[in-house]
Each structure stands twice: as C-alpha cells, then as structure tokens.
Symmetry: D3
Subunit: 294 residues, 6 copies
C-alpha cells in the first residue's frame, strides 16, 4: 500500500488504483545498459508518466475516453543496474505474472532489448503469436561486439524464437547489410522506410491472430522524436504513427500486448518526445487493450 489509496504518486494519467480490477498493466523497464551510441532511456518511463498530466482524456481519433478502460500503473520494475541477463529475467517474470492474471501488458522502455523477455513471456501464452515491429533499425544482429544480449539484437532473438515469418518490421531505414540479407533469406517481412501503407497490406493476413506490437520511438523522424539515443533522418511523422496505431485498432488482429521504447529525456529539450509518447500510449490503451479478446 502506498500509505493510503487516495494518494497515488507518479502514475500515468487516469491509472486505476487497483491491480485486480484492471484490464491492462503499465510498467516501466528503466534499462539502457547495452546501448552503444547515446544512452539515457532508463529515465524514459518516469518522464512519460510526468508529462501525461498534460493529456486530454478523450481521443477524437477513436472517440473513446480513458475512463472506459481500467489500467493499473505498476511503476518501474526495479532492475539490477548493469546486469542485462538478470534484468531480462526479472522482466520476464514480471510479465508472466501479468499474463497469469489475464491482463494486457503495456510496457515502457528503456532500451529495445527489454522487449525480448516480454515477448518470450507473451509467446508462452500465445504460441500462435505474431509480432509487429516499428523501428528505424532492424535490430537483427546475431550479436553486437560478441554480445548476444544487446540493444541491436532483440528482434533477431524474437525471430529465432517465434519464427522469422511471424515477425513484421515497418519503417526500417538503418541496419547492417547482413541483417537485411538474413531477413530476406529467412522469410521475415521488412517494410523499408514506410509504415502505414505496408501495414494496411499486412494486417488482413494476420486477422484473428494474437499480435504483440513493439514500437521504437525512433521510427519517427528526429523532427518528431529528438529525445532518443539514435536519431536517424528520414523517418515518419507522428501523424503517420498515430494512423498506424489506429489502423491496427480497427483491424481484425488480436493485440495481446505492446510496448513503446527508447524515449531518452536528456535529448528531449522541450519534452516533445515524452509528450508524443504519452499520447501514443493513450491511443494504444484506447485502441488496443480491448482487442486482446477480439
């Protein structure tokens, strides 16, 4: 108990105070220790919660209000600093519990590697799982400087676990030549540069399937998300990313979990990236949570 139910502390706006009664659980994964270029995403979840106070509770896109969905904000998962292996175990264990309680896991990163244990947990529950991945980067390296647990490897590990043909990447504009080749050889779907149009083509093929969606904020152009470690020119706009979220919401896939990762406040001087992230999360809550049982 946080002293008194009436005092809720730093949580995402309109979070429900009670875990049991909630349909979804928001949780932060404040880890960035395998990042190679510019770290800082460990502070992303806290900042996104902070600025969520500026959000309207109603979505004119989806014509729904936050009070129509009950979601609990579990705070940041305490992770052992600098220990990637143990951190990932703790995350997987945490998500196991959320899924055991039949709730929708909605994670906030942290670096992209955090998605790996989450998807492992989700896959145990949904063996027919497909993954939709929006990102500037392939994240398909087998290892990075010899290290298989790296911010550059999570999608590779996911693809190896659930099968490359069940992974669909969108907006990719950066990666090693080998990564693109591996994807091609293994039948993994990669939409280079674009998100919305290829997504419209892919979604019908996934109708009825359980889908996990992982969004790296750097799929946005640096103009729209300067507050991230690896900015990469030539990305999509926030308007397009919102449209992609809505496209999934109105499709026939069953979204069974999702995350948004890589917001790094230190590079986000006007907090525009954190504000955008909090709006994206609102739309994910309103558009996706009920889709689990679609």
């Amino acid at each position: 108990m946080r002293f008194d139910e009436a005092y809720s502390g730093n949580v995402f706006i309109k979070s429900h105070p009670n875990f049991e009664e909630s349909e979804a659980v928001i949780y932060g994964m404040p880890m960035d220790w395998t990042v190679s270029y510019r770290p800082g995403s460990r502070f992303g979840p806290a900042r996104i919660r902070e600025v969520s106070i500026g959000l309207e509770e109603y979505s004119p896109y989806l014509d729904r209000e936050l009070e129509e969905v009950k979601y609990f904000d579990a705070g940041d998962i305490p992770l052992p600093f600098g220990n990637a292996q143990r951190s990932l175990e703790i995350i997987e264990d945490f998500v196991d519990k959320i899924l055991a309680a039949d709730k929708f896991p909605l994670g906030i990163g942290g670096e992209h590697l955090v998605s790996w244990p989450v998807i492992k947990a989700v896959y145990k529950k949904y063996p027919d799982l497909a993954v939709i991945h929006m990102d500037a980067h392939t994240d398909l390296r087998e290892h990075y400087e010899g290290e298989p647990l790296s911010h550059a490897t999570p999608i590779r590990k996911v693809a190896e676990l659930i099968g490359p043909t069940n992974v669909f990447s969108f907006g990719i504009r950066s990666g090693m030549k080998e990564e693109f080749e591996w994807a091609k050889e293994n039948g993994m779907y990669i939409a280079k540069f674009e998100v919305l149009e290829p997504l419209k083509e892919v979604l019908p093929k996934l109708a009825g399937r359980p889908v996990y969606v992982t969004i790296d904020i750097d799929v946005l152009d640096p103009a729209h998300a300067p507050g991230t470690g690896t900015v990469d020119a030539g990305g999509i706009t926030s308007k397009e990313l919102l449209a992609a979220i809505h496209e999934i919401a109105k499709s026939d896939v069953r979204v069974v979990g999702a995350d948004l990762v890589e917001v790094a406040p230190i590079y986000d001087h006007s907090e525009q990236t954190a504000n955008t992230a909090s709006k994206l999360i609102r739309e994910m809550i309103l558009g996706w949570v009920q889709k689990r049982n679609a």
Copy 2:
C-alpha cells in the same frame, strides 16, 4: 515619445514609426495566467519581435514586400499581473481604439484567452463577423475547474457571442468529448486533424464576409513548434500552415483582424518556433491587411 523618432527600440521588423499613418497595428498581449499545463507564453510577443530581425522583407509566396504595407508596432499592452478579468477589459479597450482609428488589429499572445476580448471588440464593429480558428485544441469548455475565464474556454465564449454557426475550427486534434458534442449539436464547424483541404471548402461560403482569424501555434505539430505550452503530436507542418494563410489571402473573404498566440520561448530552445511565428506574421501582414476593405 521614445526620446527621438529615429530610435525605435524593440519592434517587429520594418514597423512604421507612426501610428496614424499605419494601416495595421501589431500589439503584444503578454498574459498566461489561466494556463493549466505549461505556462510561459507571456514572453512570446517580445521574443517574436526579437527574432524578426532575421526575416527577409519579401515574400516569394505572395510576391509582396513589407514596405508595401504600413504597420505600427505598439509594443506589449501592460496587463495587471494575475488578474484575468481586468486584463481582458484592458485588451478590449485597446482594440476598440485601434478599430475606432480604422486600423487592422494584429495581436500576438500570450495564451489563447486573449483572443476573446479582441473578438468582442471586432464583433461590435462587424456584426456579420465569422471567425476562422486554427488550433490543436477545441477551446470550447464552458468553464475550466469552475472558471469561465480560462485558456480552455475562449472559442466557446466566442461561439456563444457571435453564434456557433459563425465559427470555423481547423486542425483540431484534442479536447473533451463534451466539447466535440457541443459543437456538433450547435452547428459549429470543426475540421478534425486537417486544415488546408477543409479550409478550401469553407472559404467560398464566407465570400464577402468580414472574418477574424485566430491561430494557436500549437495547430502545428510539435516538430514544427516545440516552443508552446501544450505540445500535441499529429499536427500539421509549417508548410501547410503557410499554405492556409495564402489560401485565405487569395480568397474572397475580408480579413478584418487576426492574432497568433501561445508561443512560449522557454520551451523553444533553438528559437525555431519564434522564428516560424515571425514568418507567419509577415505573411499575415502581406496577405491579409489589405483584405479588410476587399
């Protein structure tokens, strides 16, 4: 007298030194005391003037130069700090004088509530007035936390004064469900998300009518205007907003006054928002001032 006519101080670039000879009057309304999320727009007018020194005087869009229009910069209206009611009275009184002198009022905010007394004054002179409103937010609340004079209410008050069917909002992507419903029930026009295309449809219907245009800088996407209190992802580009200004310029409406509000320098780390605002004002001067007598 400012000591000597030769020394003009901090004014918008190419301002005319003489009030009587001017067609238009630029004035700042440095008020932000009813803002709920992130204040700071009280310093907007001064910053916009400062950076206007970087502007070219010619518009390749309109093929006109600033020296073709005489406009006087009256500085910031001194407003009693923290007193919204009295501030609004002073603004209304100030604009009454500008209109009595038959000049075009071109205001710079400050929070959006400052548009309310300006439009009251303009409406007294032009009872057939229509209002074009570009914004991320509806601003249609009846009151905010019980307070009818709030940054969240000005368009509601305008709609109640001049009639909801005479108000046309564009680019709206944020608001309470009740606000959208109120607009719908009362016949007020709202173009969600988009500006340019719906504007092209509306303008012909307003041909010949006196129109006041109020632009909240947050109609732009945060990528294009990080320097504002409430950034909201999914907005339009500065290129689209420029096109909207030009669309009005070449239409058959009679623009009789205008404002640009909510630039907040503290969040504008490269002064890009202030620079954009100063360019928008140049285009408003060159495109709209002469339209009063169209």
Copy 3:
C-alpha cells in the same frame, strides 16, 4: 498495493517499502499555481526522485548511511489543479496523518506556499514550535495582488500563527521594503544575505525546542540552483547550505519536520539543481530525522 512489494516504482533512493515501519515520510506537493514569475515547480518532486538514483548512500559529512534510517516515500499528494485553498487543506490533512502516526514529515515542493499548511499541522502537535527559514525572499507579504494565499505570503502567515519572534529567516536578499519593516517591527529575526554565521548564533537560543526547517532552493545562488522560478544573484553556495544543514544536525534543537521547495526542472538544463536537491535531502534524512526525539 503497488501490485507486489518487490516493485517499488519511482521513489527516493533507498526508501523503505513499508509506511508503518518508517520513521520519516517523504511526500511531494506538486503545486505551483500561485507563482507570479516563472512557474514549473509542480514537477520538482518527481525529478528529484528520478535523479536520486545517482546518489551515494553514505554521507562522508555525517558518517552515516541511508540504511540507518527508515523512510517511506509516499509519492506526490494529488492536488486539485488550480485550487489553492483546497490544495492546502489536502496537504494539511495529509501531514496530520503523518504526525498522528508519529513520523517525521519531509516534504518536497512545489511552490513555497505548500509549507504553510504543513507548518499549521506541525504547530498543532508542537505548540512551542520555532521555524527556521532559508530563502532568497522574505515571503512576508500580507497578500499578493489582493490574494492572501500566494507564494509571496507563507512566512507571513506562519509568523502570524506561531508568533513572529519564533520565526528565523536566513539568506534573505529580496523583498519589499514593507516586508523588512514588518519583520523589524514585530521582532522577527532576519539574517540578510548570509546563512551559516547567523545560524550559529541563533541555534543555541533554540536548544531543546522543536524546530521545523523550510528551505527554498533559491537561497542558493543561481550558479548553484539555476533550476528554480525566481533566480536571484548574490546567494550562498551549495557548500554553505550543506554546512548549514550539518550545523543544525549537530545543534541541540529538535527538528520535527522539514521541507525543500521550488525546484523547477524546466530551467534546470543539466539537472544540477535536482541533483543538488537530492543530496540536500539525503543530508536532511541522515542529520535531522533522529533529532525529533533529541
């Protein structure tokens, strides 16, 4: 319950997970709505918690470690936005409960007005209370623009409640002439400009008495605390403020509660002010909490 005691979320470093077992309670008061110049301190408590992760747990000044003191972090008190009167009532009620449970209240602002309801609550328990006040500003106005509940009035209200001769201000370098005169006429102690030396003179006179200490971060020079609303040149260094905390710690006064207010993250570009605040709070915990029963 926060889902599972093992997951603690955004709390001050080394906080104890259990309220009942704790000696002290940290709580945020995220309010800044009566601020006149540059608001933003509503986000102070959350940022201070965030950066506390960078602290060492040991104080070489006091030769004590955080694990020697049990303190619970209750998060931010949810305050009704824009309603000062109701916010103050909620704060007072909250602190009443902490005191009823016989715990040390350690508050984080927010604007300085939040200290007023806290001290009201503390005074009810300790009628012999003295207040030590470190600040750049007198905060002794009777009202500000006609409003008695303002960031400029809390110490005046405190002085009127517990008697001006029981209030001791240090480091003051800004205020109206009338405020200094009122203090002088009413026997209230004000040490202009300096903190440490006058504090050494005052502390012996307060030996054995219950004392509440309120620190406005702007008592520091802007060089040491740029991240605050009203920066005022000519202040003390962080080294001097640390020494003042330690001077109180080794004195014979009984510290029965304390707060640190006015950290505003938006002006704190390197987070140096928040980092300094988190270190000051560590020293307050280690130096003062046990002094309640001195």
Copy 4:
C-alpha cells in the same frame, strides 16, 4: 604524421587513413565570419564528424556500404580568423590540390560563402560545369551591406562565373525580390519551395554533364534542421532531401564535387541536425563519389 597511422583522431566514420589511395577527400571549412543573423557554423564540421560514430555503415537506400568507397578525411582547413578574402584563397588552393590529385572534393561548412572558392576550383577543371543548389535562400545578392564577399552572395558569384543558365536552385523560399528578378531575367533556374519534383525534371537535361552539388542544410524545414543560423519555416523534410540525393545518384549526371554547409551546433540541442548531416554525407559518399567518372 599523426604520430602513428593506427591512431586516427576525429575523422568521419570509416575514413581511409591514406590520402593517395582515396577516391574522395572530406574537408571542413570552419568559417562563419560574414554571417548576418546567427553565426556558429564554424563549429559544424567538427560536430558532424563527432556524431558520425553513430552511423550504420550500410545504406539500405543505395544497398552499398562505406567500405566500398575509399575517402580520406583531411580535417578542417585552418582559416585565418575574420579574413574572408584570404580564407577563400586558402580554400580554393586546397581544392585545387584535391582536384589535381584527381579526387572527389566533399566539403563541409561553415557558412555558404565557402562554396564559392570550391566551385571556382572545380570550374577550372570542368569548364562545362553545372551547379545544383539546394537551399532555403537565393544567396543571389550582388553584395550585402556593400560587401561582395558575404554569406548572401555565393550563388550570384557562381552564376556570374559559370553562367546563370548553368545554375539550378531548388527549395528556395527566402530572398529579396531583386534576387528572384535577377534570376528570371538571366535565365537562371529556381524551383521555389520544392526540391524533388523539379529535380526530376531538371536532371535529364543535365545528363552526361559534370555537376557540382551544394546543399545548405536550411533547405530542410526548421523541424528537421533546427541547428542552423537562419531557420526558415516551410521547408522540406529530411526524407525528401534523402530522396533528392538518391535521385541524383541514379541519374545520368556526373557529380564531380559536393558540399553540405551551415550546420551550427549551438542551436542544435539534441544534435539532430548534425546527425542528419552525417547521414546525408554518408549517402553523398555512397551515391555520388563514383559518379565522377560516370
């Protein structure tokens, strides 16, 4: 010698350590002394090199890798501070040497005036030269405040040297009326506001000709390049500029030299502009260097 070939210092990522073996030479021109509005581009080349460490070495746009091209990074040319005339002579002399060694000159500014001596040198080698110019500004003034060597004049000087009909400007949205008129009267091509579509029309006409490409980063919208001296709303996106580079790469022109100018780090708070510039340079290397002998 830099002490030991193994230690390369601050160079653009994957630069080849040996000048003689390289096809292209990268060099900085750290000059901004004729800038009128906001200086700072003298520090651009160093910052772009710094952030190039974050680049992937593979371009998914062009399906090429940096190791396929040998380029030497010669560092910044030491320029005599404040002496424009002498600086330009040094630059010209430097580029003469690069061209004499039959290497591709790839310059990084610095203010736009640095392109003038480079193009002079290139023109000596390629008398049939055409220039493609992407910029927000015409840069066609005859002189600026009486000074012919100014950041506002380089394209005019180029046009006068190689003939106005051999200069093709794209994306222009700012300039004096006289500049646009001069271009029109003299048969110089200017595509206002847009880059990609007009470029597609122009390129076929230049097939087989040697072309120098000069890109002012402010051709990008301020959202995409806040880190420059003169931000000007209404520009193109980084996605469009990348597409323009690729359009040239796949055309039949022979690119014989290029530059990217006006990145100013002091206004580039998240280093997004420098990161974008480094990606643009990667694409220029991969897409253009081999085209010299096309």
Copy 5:
C-alpha cells in the same frame, strides 16, 4: 509617441514614461559584429528588459526603491548591421544628446566595443574623467587581426584618449602578454583576478572625480554568467560584483555614466545571466545615478 502613454511596451521595469523628467536614460546597443569567438550579445539588451519583470523594486542592500529614481528606457539604438564605424558614430551621437540633456547614461551591450564611443562622449563633458573597468579580459589590444575597431581594443582606445593612468581595470584574468606589458609600461592600473579588495584601495584616490564604470559580465565566473560569448574560468561571484557596485555607491567618487555589456542570451539556458544582469542594473540605478552630482 507609442500610440498612447499608457502602453509602454518592452522596457526595463519601473522605467519612467517621460524622457524629460528622467534623471537617467537606459539604452541598448545591440551590436556584436566585431566579436571573434561566440557572438550573440546583440540580443542582450532585449532579454535583460524581458526578465526585469521578475525583479523586486526594493534593494535590501541599499535600502532604496526604484520609484525613488526616475529613469527612461529609450529602447535599443538602431545600428546599421555589420558597420562598426557607423554604429559607433551613432552611439556617440546618441549619448551626446543624453548628456546635453544632463541625464545619466546607462547603457546595455552588446559587445564591449560599444563602450568606446560612450566614453568618448562622456569624456567631452568630463575632461577629468576616470574609468573603472571590470572584466575578465584586458581589451587592450592595439588592433585585432589588423582592425583597430574590435571587441578586443576598446579599453586601449579609452586609455589612449583619457590617459592610461586614468583607467583602472579589475578582475582581469585573460589577455595577451603584450597587453599586460603595455599597461605596466604606461602606468595603467590592472588588478589581476580580484575586484573588491583592490577597488577599496583605488576608490579613495578617485574621491571627487567623475567616474565612468564599464562592466563586462564576463568578469563573473562562468558559473555565475554562462550566458556570454567568452566564458573564462576563475572569475568572481555575483555576490562579489554586487559588493563592488555597493562599494562604489558608498564611496566619494562621482559616477557620471555606466554600462553593462556582453550578455548573450543564446548561451544563457536558464536566463540566469540575464536575471543577474537585471539585478545589477537595479543596483546601479539605485546606487549610482544620484552620485553624478555627488
């Protein structure tokens, strides 16, 4: 007239609206075109006025209030961009008029070169003039890169005009060897590193003499004034600079004019330098203006 006396625009707080009735005149000199390292001080005067709204009107140091002194704010002198020679003539002419009207000139820079024409004008009126100069830099070069009108030369020119023995520099910690030697050889006083103690020694020797005081904000340590072009470690604190101003105020010299130069807002991320400058100006007004007739 600025439309109506009631509307005063951007002026230093509590400025008197009427020139004739004022004892002192504040004026901005927005020039930075001879600066060698980091320009930007041209925007200093405007920013200092903006933030002056946050000042208390009472000085607890001097026990005086701003309403006890009448000063007029003449705005920024319009200077021909990039033309140092003509700018200096305009400034001198402007100050001639202020002095002819028997008012105290209180200038705000701009780069330090602006002090040169001001002192020329003051010297014409007070042939017995002494100059007190507080700065990190000697500013004693005979020329800079061959240019005698440079930010590095003003004190040399002053010393040559009024005689080196009439110039007293304090806080100097940077300069060429030749500059220190020239001063020594010519009997000019330089207090290296320190301000307050040497000032106490010098002031009695100047008793009764007319003195002009020029303060370069970089005499402060970068911790106290990051917002300036050439930050130089090892400076004095704002507390010491305030004490120096007060020391002059209580001395027997006759201050007949003063300036504060080199505040550059672009490097002043929390506006702490501008806020400090506005406080320094308040103390100069309260402490020095009446001393003209001492």
Copy 6:
C-alpha cells in the same frame, strides 16, 4: 600523413605539428562504457579541443605563453567500443610509446577508468611514483556490481599497484563508507571536501618525487562544471582548482604526466565546462610540462 602538414584539423590550440619535436603529447581517451549514472564523457576530448580556439595563449597566472612549450595533439585514441579490457590495453600501449619517446603524457577523458592504464605505464618508468588525485569521488571500490574494471575502481587499482601510501586524494565528498575505511586502514591520504589547503601541506612531503596528477572535473562544484556525469553539490570553485594547479607548478615535485577526465558535453549546455577544461589544460601545459625534469 594528414595530406599536408599545413592542415592540422581538430587539435588543441597551438599544438605543435610534429611529434618528434614535442615535449608533451595530448591525447583523448573517448571511453565511457563502464559509467553507471550518466554517460557521455566519450565526447569530452573532441569538445575540449573545439572550444580551445577561444583561449588566450598567455597565462597571466604563470606569466608564460603556449608557444614556450611544444606539445603535439595526437587526437583521440581509437578504442574498441564497449570492450573495457581491450581499451585499457590500447591506452597503456599508447602511453608506453609516449614515455619511450621521453615525452610528457597529457590525457583527456573519457571516464576516470582511463587513468588506470596510463598510471600503470607511468609507474613502469617511474617506480618511485606518487599520484595526486582530485575528485568528488573516492573511486576506491574493489569492484562495482562484481566488475573490477569500472569507473568506480581506478584509484583502488592504482593504490594497490603503487601502494596506498603513495596516493593522495583531494576534494573527496562522495563514496561508500567502506571506501573511506579502506583508505584509512591502508594509510592512503584523503582530504575530504577541500583541495588547496591540504595540498599545500602535502606537496613539500613529495618534493623531488615523480608525481602523476589525475583530475576528475567533478571535483568542481556543479555550478562550475555542470557538464559531467555525476554532479555532486558542495565542490570547489574553478578559481580554487586553478590555484591548486599553480601550487603544484611552483612546488618541488616533478610532474611526469597528468590527465583531466569526465567532461560530458551533453550536459554542458553553454559549453562552460569544456571551456573551463581547456583553460585548465593550458595551465597544466604551462605549469607542469617542464617540471618532468625538475
């Protein structure tokens, strides 16, 4: 070869172009991969070089000029990203070569761990070595999260190598209790909080001995060095640190090598920390290099 000796690229101001003829060698160690709180110092050396252009070449403190000392800037040592063990080997090998050539090694970090291999190399040459260490932190952990190669361990490793009684730490204000105890038990000298006075006591005892000096920029107060990973309130001023450098310069110790570490540009918004660092390095060059043979 860098193409032509005349073009020197990004080097510390006034560096000598020839390695062999130089007395000292400046080199960057761009590594920050074991940092726990806020990384970013990998970009420190490049930024310090960049801003060194703003330095005067003369020191009024030491009355010497940079041209009196020949030093070569070798650029940044290329380090294998993320591999601490190999990076340290490369650094040690690099410094071995400098020492073999009988030159003074002057390193710029990077995180503090880089000092460890440097001191190992220096100790091989000078078995009688003493180390002077100025820092906010003890850096005496045996391991950090099980890792002996960490930013928290270098001084421990040094102490174990050369003997704890040969290590002298100054300015320490942060660390674990166990670290202070270990130092005490092993006879290592630690001056808590202060630098200058204890240094004056220690230096005479080291007369004639070879001394390596390692300075962590965070020994400065955050007011003086915001641009570092772990800011810690209560530090010394830049004036005091300059005085400490000069105290060593005039002592009888033989300085045989030195470094300055932990400048992190991303937190250094006005570049004040980098500017201060470049001035410190100038004083180290002028004051210490010749002392090697003292």
